[in-house]
Structures are given as structure tokens and as C-alpha cells.
Symmetry: C2
Subunit: 160 residues, 2 copies
């Protein structure tokens, strides 16, 4: 009855901590910007990186839709179409309609695209490792786990 | 002498773990993209967010140089100039030459810009907190710490 409701929190939002959260978000953006800046500087011109990102994404999971790719990639949905067009023209990816919904188009690596992705990936992986070397293995494991949990929580339909 | 060199590692790179590291980097990008996509969707059109980002950065540290801002922000150095130009025209920031090096220009909030930043920040902070609510406070604290350590390690001049 009445007394029981006294245990309910009043106007508190215990899961929120604005300063901590904003600072976390800023650090996430800064880490990403610093890493990406260094990758751009070392891997080559800006046009190379989105192409690599596309190939690496398809190597991880071939046959993604444009919508799926645009969620995971560095480019906006608008730029993605042009990127896929150019990659298709260069013969490294190919669009094919989804068998069960022909209005939906899926993007696949060609054999040429797959070879290219597998060729580029090691140098990229080595650079990423180098950039992360300020953290020891246990810290990187923990950071990976926390980011995975965050990513999964964001990838679900938003709660009201 | 000879024997002592036997303790040196041969061809090992114990601080590197390519699969862990790439996966960490992908999760960082995905978390950032998912959060930023949601912030863009909720805070308004794409033109609002870079302006807000500029004001929030100056609120944290007023009088930054363009180079400093471009390292920390979501926009490229090229786009930053236009962004600062428009913000200056709207009377929310002002450029002033550095007193000790007049070739260097620093960007400051005007009183109007400061009021605007302080007005926008709470809604932004609330949304960020909401997006991070998939992690509990201890996890967010740990994630913040690890990202801070990563950011600081990246912000130092690169080792050879």
C-alpha cells in the first residue's frame, strides 16, 4: 500500500550520469577521429578508404543490402550508392536482386573484389593494431566487449 | 653476452592481436555510427549537428585554433572553415588572432553563442545518456576510462 510506494525513486534517473556520458561520447568521437585521421594519412587518399571499407564489410558478410551497409559504414546512404556504382564499374562488386524480394538489391564481392580485399586487409589490420597499442591486451579485450554491448544495445529497435 | 640475448623475443609482437584489434575498431565505428545516426535523426537536420558540435567544443575549451578544432570534430578541415565562417556570420563565434602569433587565428564563443550552446547542451546530454543506457554506470565508467587512455595514446606524436 502507501508505505510500499515509498521505495520508488522520485525524479531520479539512476542509470543516467550526464557528465560521465557526455565525456564518454566525446572520447569515443575523439578516438575514432584520431584513428581514422591516422589511417587516412597512412593508407592513402580519402577515396581509397571508403572503397576499402566497402570491400572489408562485404568480406565479413557478403550479400548485404545498401541499407545494411550504410548502417555499418563511414559514408552516408547518399554517398554509398555512388561508391557501390563505382566499385561495380571497376568489377570488384556486383549488385543482384534478393531472390525472395526482387525490389531489394544485395551487394556481392566478385572474385576480383575478394582478392583485392584479402590483399588490403593485412596492412590495414597491422595499422589498426599499431594504433591500439596504447592499450594492453586485457584492456583491448575489455574495450571490445563494452563496445560490442553498446553496439548491440543501439542496434535494437529503440525503446519508448 | 650471447646467452642473455636468448631472452629477447624473436619475431613476436605480443602487444598485437589482429582479430581482436580489427573487431574492436569495427565495433567502435559501428557504435559511433549508430549513436550519431540516432542523434542526427532526433536532434534535427544534418546542418544543426556540426554547428552544435562546434559550439559544444568551444564551450569545453574556448579560443581553440582551427587545427585543434578539426582534430576533435566531426567535420574535415575543409568543411570546418565554412562552418566557422557561417557561425561567425550568425554572430555565435568570433575569430581573433593569437596574441603571441598573429598568423594563428583562434575561435571564441560570443555571448550569444555561449547562451545558445548552454541551451542546446542539456537536450543533447539527455539523448546521449539515453543512447548509452544499455551499459550500467560501472561499465560506462570503465568504457570512458579505456577510451580516454586510447585517445591520449593517439594524441601523442606517433612513435617510429
Amino acid at each position: 500500500m502507501r508505505a510500499a510506494s515509498g521505495t520508488a525513486r522520485r525524479g531520479e534517473e539512476p542509470r543516467r550520469a550526464p557528465n560521465l556520458d557526455l565525456s564518454l561520447w566525446v572520447r569515443l568521437l575523439e578516438s575514432k577521429n584520431l584513428m581514422l585521421g591516422e589511417i587516412r594519412r597512412r593508407i592513402g587518399d580519402a577515396s581509397t578508404l571508403p572503397r576499402f571499407d566497402l570491400l572489408a564489410n562485404l568480406l565479413r558478410e557478403d550479400g548485404q543490402t545498401l541499407a545494411g551497409l550504410s548502417r555499418r559504414m563511414l559514408v552516408t546512404a547518399g554517398n554509398l550508392t555512388g561508391l557501390v556504382d563505382r566499385a561495380e564499374r571497376d568489377g570488384v562488386v556486383v549488385r543482384r536482386p534478393d531472390p525472395s524480394d526482387r525490389r531489394l538489391s544485395r551487394v556481392y564481392l566478385t572474385p576480383k573484389g575478394q582478392r583485392l580485399a584479402e590483399e588490403l586487409l593485412p596492412a590495414h589490420a597491422k595499422l589498426v593494431s599499431e594504433l591500439l597499442s596504447g592499450l594492453d591486451v586485457a584492456e583491448r579485450r575489455e574495450l571490445r566487449r563494452l563496445l560490442g554491448k553498446l553496439r548491440d544495445s543501439l542496434d535494437r529497435p529503440r525503446r519508448a
